[in-house]
Symmetry: C3
Subunit: 349 residues, 3 copies
Amino acid sequence: MNKFPRNHWYAAAWASEIGDAPVGRRILDEPVVLFRGGDGKVAALEDRCPHRLVPLSMGTVVNGALQCGYHGMTFGADGQCVRIPGQERIPPRAVVRNYPIAERYGMAWIWMGEAERADPELLPEIPHFDDPDWGKITDGYQHHPSNYLNIVENLMDPSHTTFVHKQTIGNPAAANAGVQMEKTDDYIVAYKWLPSSPPSPMDMQIKDFGDGKVDRGQFFYFEVPCVSRVDIITMPAGLERTEENFNKGLRNNSYKFLTPETETSTHFFWMHLRNYNVGDDAWSERMRGVFEKTFNEDRDIEMAMQESQNLLGVRQMVGLEIDRAPTIALKMIERLVKDENAAAETVAA
Amino acid sequence: MNKFPRNHWYAAAWASEIGDAPVGRRILDEPVVLFRGGDGKVAALEDRCPHRLVPLSMGTVVNGALQCGYHGMTFGADGQCVRIPGQERIPPRAVVRNYPIAERYGMAWIWMGEAERADPELLPEIPHFDDPDWGKITDGYQHHPSNYLNIVENLMDPSHTTFVHKQTIGNPAAANAGVQMEKTDDYIVAYKWLPSSPPSPMDMQIKDFGDGKVDRGQFFYFEVPCVSRVDIITMPAGLERTEENFNKGLRNNSYKFLTPETETSTHFFWMHLRNYNVGDDAWSERMRGVFEKTFNEDRDIEMAMQESQNLLGVRQMVGLEIDRAPTIALKMIERLVKDENAAAETVAA
Amino acid sequence: MNKFPRNHWYAAAWASEIGDAPVGRRILDEPVVLFRGGDGKVAALEDRCPHRLVPLSMGTVVNGALQCGYHGMTFGADGQCVRIPGQERIPPRAVVRNYPIAERYGMAWIWMGEAERADPELLPEIPHFDDPDWGKITDGYQHHPSNYLNIVENLMDPSHTTFVHKQTIGNPAAANAGVQMEKTDDYIVAYKWLPSSPPSPMDMQIKDFGDGKVDRGQFFYFEVPCVSRVDIITMPAGLERTEENFNKGLRNNSYKFLTPETETSTHFFWMHLRNYNVGDDAWSERMRGVFEKTFNEDRDIEMAMQESQNLLGVRQMVGLEIDRAPTIALKMIERLVKDENAAAETVAA
């Protein structure tokens, strides 16, 4: 019985993390080791030597194969054992599970489900990733000790910004504005549109908005099961809402790729794209600091929720109107898990 | 089924602890948040937002109401929700439990049982608290990782002083002197009276006792379920035992207010009153250090006991004569719990 | 049902560890306290006062008896209570278990089984311990958070050296050489013999081997249930394998005495004897550092194995040819435990 959707691409690691040494990481509650095979491509195997169960991530990469740090049993990128020091015969059970990997956007994506369904066409789209008119911050990572559903809820919920992120991206005016919601076959989006309000302190540092009145939009996209995009727009007040006009103002696209580690913890990968201050590394570093702080604020809340949930065995006691989008996102995930489990039972029967 | 007596006042926090920010504290194994309402008085609520279970102690106090740090749900001092950002309707279940609070002796006392029985007349008496002829040390707090019964035993047992507190309040002569015991309807007291013995090193620093012979008394009072008063008297040898004569010597009143945190840990509040060196702040600070050290010595023993009890599931294997007073104190507490549980069953039936 | 062989001597502590203060140590999952009795000899008792279960190791040694740190109950080296402050009568149950101790090789050895079978003749033999032509390093101790069987396997397995100990005692040439095995009634030994190979970097620092070719031997002895001796020999190439010729080269005898602490942790005592650089204290200290580092490398592997075993409930998934000696050693231990449990059942029936 799966707890997580499996037939999807999950962010496993930034490509920059996988150098000469193997990297061990628990993903969907399974131990995985990532390393570069002979062709330089990232490979993913079960992180456990079948001999004495030592994690292969304690070993070394030798000629593109992964050598166990205990007795030197060596496995190729496909998981087959290619060498056992001291003996000729390779027993048939000397094999570890291999997981499909796709590399894109500076990231190694892993497919934890049925290997034959691992289609790179299904990778998420990040339109401006290679756009020279956009600046970017990549390689963001945090460890959030909370079930990933708590993080999905947080990301689909613009309302918390006012209260959790007072010192960073929050804005008191946001508190009472209603949350709108749209849903397509591909994603859901919750958003707030604040016409003619004062810009945030941070926005004011970047750009002069004349009389100080702006329209502000916060769009919270979620693509199941693991991609969040927050599109924050601050543009001169009164213009029509078009992509073109959006780009006349400040535009920040904050991506999060959530990968369940265990049932109570999540790998929180993040990336940020912007349409201003392109090539300004000092700015990027400053923004990185702001985002780290912002996501740490979320993490503290999510962690406290997880502790309460562990204790009480329930997720919440009262529903609010702002829960609409998070609730739909969770139902979409629930449906994915249910369908996968039903399919698995059919196969088993 | 309660594990602790509930219909009593327990020390929740020093008034000085409750400033602008809310304070979260587990009491009788329940999460409680303390804050100051609009009238400046301390209020106590269940420390858990009914929306997504985030502790309210992670929030902020706004105009005397407690605002959740996640989405801004705001609760009054009575536990009623007074605001939900983004919606007009307050659902009936948007409420958290309120606990009665009484403030006295610089302390916020909490009533964890039936609210209608919370009578300030039942607060403990501390006669010399406002006496200008007595000096005092307040705001003492330690966290003891042990069931509070282990601490009650310790406090009702003068015999351990010789062995546990060699470097502070102990005295080798005390070891073999018998422990006396008296019991009234209000309290029990165990005590040792040591006629004509040498004063302790600490006593000698405070006062010149001529030829160095003194009568020493140690009285260990316990008022169920949570107040301990140790009355330590060092007076010229040979006088009659009266309150008046007691005050001719050195008199130290050490109060402890024990509040169970969980079944294996206790909030240990302490306060000290003395009839000498009144207004001598340097002396107070020095004494504070001695007491902190003394209570830490007890804490180490109590913690080790708790670990053994966790492992073995029993409290002790051999009874000694010195156990008389502690055993009676524990039976008194046991009776309170039993009576409360019986009453709860009657109501439920 | 025992998990460990009990009727054997286990290393309890280095004699140098037992000074004026008692030492508490969990052995075969029982709490033990070691101290020096009136005759200066090491005594071992159950580390738990029968009164309130406080560890006696928190107390003090008074005139060769062990005084509890809480109320001063005092126990002789035989475990009998000799004093209870404040009362005359010693209750019959005021006694703690005594364990036989034998002192040899600078070590206190404990017998955790039936006391009447504790025969010092059964202590391990360490032939060169008092040999003036050999130098030694004693008092080695590490805590390994792994079941002791994992450590036995490691010690009976020369193959891992190449992979785990690259930076210390390892040698790439060793990887593919076959492991030999011999078994007598007293011990089993696994070994590798590498004729005419280059000496290790460390060997070269100690001795000039002419053209650089040497014969190298690694003998891994194991005497049930807890003694490992690794005999590492580097001698001029081509000589006959005799004790006399062994001593013409460099000879290192590394002893480990494994004492289960719990089912998932082990006291790892070690000692080293060598036939060169006798009396060279600087060399000894340097070697001590190398061994500490080497054993830490093993510890990291053993700890990771334990974590996998905890999770999966199995020890391994594929057997290799190099497992022969470790498997026999484990079967020998298993047999000891089985026989002891069968004998215990017979007595009980």
